[in-house]
Symmetry: C4
Subunit: 239 residues, 4 copies
C-alpha cells in the first residue's frame, strides 16, 4: 500500500515515537520479558474511521524494537500489507487497541502493561481511591476497574471504552488482568501508564499501615482543573 508523502511522514513519526516509548516502559519497570505494548494513532484526514495505528509486534524483545519493526494496522486491527514489519504478527492485544481507536476518536495512544501494583488492585477488582494530590492532578479521581474479559472477541476493548468514556481517568484496571491507559498521543498514554503504577504502589503501601485521609471532592476538582490547564510549558502542553 502506498500513501501520500504527508501521510508517510506522519506514519514515520508515530513509528519512531512508539518504538522509543516502549523504552519508557522498561525504564519505569512496568514490563518484563516481551509483555506490554504501546500504540499510536496516525491521523489520516477528516474521517477518524480511516485512521491507522502503529503497534508493537507480538512476543519480541524490548531490545529489538526499532521503528521499522513496528506494525501498521487499520482500525479493524488488520495489518497493512506491504509496509515495514507487515511480515510479523502484531501484539496479541491489537484487537483491544483497535476497538478503542474505533470508538474513541479523541484517543491518540493506548498502552497496556502488567505492572505489579496496578495488577494487584485488578486481581481484587478494587478501584484505587484518590487520596494523594498527584492522583487528583493526573486522573481527577479514583482509577476505575473494568470487567473481567478475555482475549478472543471485543470484550476487552469494549470494557475499556465503556469504563473510560466520560470518565476523567485515562487509566482502567481490567479485572484480574491489568491496566490499559489512553491519551492524546502515545506519549500521553505512556505517562498515564507510568503514573497509574506509581499511584497504585503508593496507595497500596499507604493503606497497609492504617486508614487513609480522603481528599475533599472540591479540592480534587480544583487540582485536576489546574493541572490539565496550567501545568507544563505553553509550547508543550501535557495533552
Amino acid at each position: 500500500m502506498t500513501f501520500s508523502p504527508e501521510i508517510d511522514a506522519a506514519i514515520a513519526a508515530v513509528r519512531a515515537d512508539v518504538a522509543r516509548l516502549h523504552g519508557e516502559l522498561v525504564r519505569y519497570g512496568l514490563v518484563v520479558w516481551t509483555g506490554g505494548n504501546v500504540s499510536g494513532r496516525v491521523r489520516i484526514g477528516e474521517d477518524p474511521s480511516a485512521d491507522l495505528f502503529v503497534i508493537k509486534p507480538s512476543g519480541v524483545s524490548y531490545d529489538d524494537l526499532a521503528p521499522e519493526n513496528m506494525i501498521l494496522c487499520d482500525l479493524d486491527g488488520n495489518v497493512i500489507p506491504g509496509t515495514p514489519g507487515s511480515d510479523r504478527s502484531p501484539s496479541s492485544d491489537t484487537a483491544a487497541h483497535a476497538y478503542v481507536y474505533r470508538h474513541m476518536p479523541e484517543v491518540g495512544g493506548v498502552v497496556h502493561t502488567h505492572s505489579t501494583y496496578a495488577v494487584a488492585w485488578a486481581a481484587r477488582g478494587e478501584e484505587i481511591p484518590c487520596v494523594i494530590t498527584a492522583m487528583a492532578d493526573e486522573f481527577g479521581g479514583p482509577i476505575p476497574v473494568g470487567p473481567f474479559a478475555i482475549i478472543g472477541d471485543d470484550s476487552i476493548g469494549r470494557g475499556i471504552v465503556d469504563t473510560l468514556s466520560g470518565h476523567r481517568s485515562r487509566a482502567v484496571l481490567m479485572q484480574n488482568h491489568g491496566p490499559f491507559t489512553i491519551g492524546a498521543d502515545a506519549k500521553d498514554a505512556v505517562k498515564a501508564a507510568v503514573m497509574v503504577e506509581d499511584v497504585a504502589r503508593t496507595v497500596h503501601h499507604a493503606r497497609e499501615a492504617g486508614p487513609l485521609i480522603p481528599i475533599p471532592q472540591q479540592a480534587i476538582d480544583s487540582l485536576y482543573d489546574r493541572y490539565q490547564n496550567v501545568y507544563g510549558q505553553n509550547s508543550d502542553t501535557r495533552r
Copy 2:
C-alpha cells in the same frame, strides 16, 4: 536584567548545581516522569530579601535538564526576564519554594518529590517515628506532618515554614501530598529528600511486622548532636 560578574558567577554555580542535582532524584528513584523539583538560593548581598533562586522548568523531562534550562526567579516567584530559560514556565511549585526562601533566610535549597513511602505516610497524615539511629543522626527526631494545602495561594509554603521553623527536621510530609525538604544549600536539601524516603521505607517495613523499639530521647539528642558537628570532612561539612 544584568548582574555584576560576581553575581553572574554565583547564578551560574547554582544553575549547575540545581541541574545536576535533579539527576540525584532520578538515581534514588524519588521521581517519575517530570515530577519533583529542586531549587537553590543565590545570595546577592546583605539583605536576604533581595536574593534570587534557581528552579526547574515545569513539565520538562529529566533528560533535558541542562543548567541553561533552569529558571531564575526573585523571592516572590517571578521569573527574571531576559535570563536563560526565562521564556519557559517555572515549576508549578515555584510559589511554595519562594515562600520558604522569603521566610527562612537560612535556607539555601528546597526540594519536593512524590517519593513512594514518604507519600504513603503523608496520605495517612502520620509522622514517622524516630526508631532508627540514621534518622536520629539526620533529622534529630520524628519527621513531622504539615497541613493539607493545595496550589493556588501561599498555603503550601506557609505549611512548610510553620512546620519546620524551630524543628530539627529538614523534612516535612505535607498531608495527602508528599515531602518537602530544606537545607543549607540545594545539595543538602536533596540529601534530606533521599534520606526521608529511605527512613520512610525502612520504618514502614519495620512496623509492618511488629512493635518497634523506641530510642531514648537522650540517645537521639546525642546522635543528632554528634552527626551535625563531627560527621564528614572538615573541609566539606554536611551543612
Copy 3:
C-alpha cells in the same frame, strides 16, 4: 573428548546461550552475588540419554560468565574432561539439573534462582493461586510446591520431576528453598524464571490488601491454550 563438527557447533551454541542468559537473571533482579544458575541441553542424536548439558561454574561472579567458562556435563552430572571450563567445578545444583534432563527428555533448559517473592511462597510451602491472566497465559494454573529436599542425593531432582511431570506449570517452588523452572530450551526456562517471580510478587501484594477474585477454570484453560498456540511470531514461537 572430541565431537563431530555438528555436535561441536551445537555445544558452542548452547554455551553462548547459557552464558548470555545468565545476564537476564541479573537484569530482572532474580539473583545476588553468585547465586542462581541456568543450564541448556545439547541434543546429540536419537537417544536422549546420550545428550549433554551446559551449566554455570560454581561460585563465579556474574561478571565473569563467558561461553568458554561454562561447563559441559553428561546427564549423570559428570564434567566432560578436556572441554573448556572442565578444570572448574560446575554449579552445586548440577545433580538436580542432570536428574531433570535424564527423566524429562522434552526439557531443553533448567533454571534455578532464589528470587525474593518466589522464595517467600516457598518458605510457607504455599502454591501461588492463578488469579491473574498473565499467569493463566504462561503457567495455565497455579504454581505448585515441591517437597523439602536438601543437596546430597537425588531428592531435589526427583522433587522437581515428580511435581512438574504432567503439570502445565514450568515452575515449581521447592519448599524452603526456591523456584526451579524448565523449558523447551534455556531461554524458555529463563522466561519461566522471570515470570514466576513476577507473578509471585504481584499475587503477594494483591493478597496483602484483601480477598482475590478467582478466574474461572474455563477462562484459565482458554487463556493457556491461546497463549501456547497463538502468541508470538510464527518463526519464533514461545516454546
Copy 4:
C-alpha cells in the same frame, strides 16, 4: 610512615579491594548517599595486634572512592600519618571496625550498612529465623541481634564482638541501628552484607503472608557444613 615493599604491596591490594567493593554496596542497593562503609585488614606479621586496616573516608560520595582516597589506620583506629588519604577523617564507624579487628584476629573484613530490611528487623530487635536454605548455607542459622549502642565509646564494637564470637553467623543486626558483617576478607564481609539484606527481605515478605515452615536443625547443620566446605572453586573458596 614507611613500610617494607611487601607491606606496601599488601596495603595497595587492600586499598584497591576496599575501594572497588564499595561499588558492590551501591550495585545491590544497600546504601544511599554517603552511608555505609567497608574495611579490610592488612596483615603485617606474626602479631595480629600490629596489623593495619583500610577504611572509607567519612561523608564522601560513592562516586569519589578511588584507592588513594581510602584511609589507613592502626587497630586503635588512629590514622597512619603521611599515608595517602591521611589528611581526611576516616568513617565515623572506624572505632567499631578497629574494635572488631583487635578482638577477632581471624576477621579480615568488616562492613556496615543501613540496608532497608535488615534495619527493619533491627528496629524491632528481632532475629531473622532460618527458614530458607540459602540462609542455612550462608549463615548456618538465624541472624542474631546485638545490643543498642551509640557512637562515642567501644559499645558498638563490643556489641558486635560479643554477639558474633562463637556464632556461625557473620552478620549481626545492631538494635535500632543496622547490620554489621565480618568475613575472612573484605569481599567475604561484603558478600555477607549482600546476603543478610537478601534474606532479611525474603523472610520479611514470607512472614507477612502466613506462618513459615521451620527447617529442621539437622538439615541446617548439613547445609551449612556442605556450603562452607564444598561450594565454589577449589582455587577460589568462599572464605
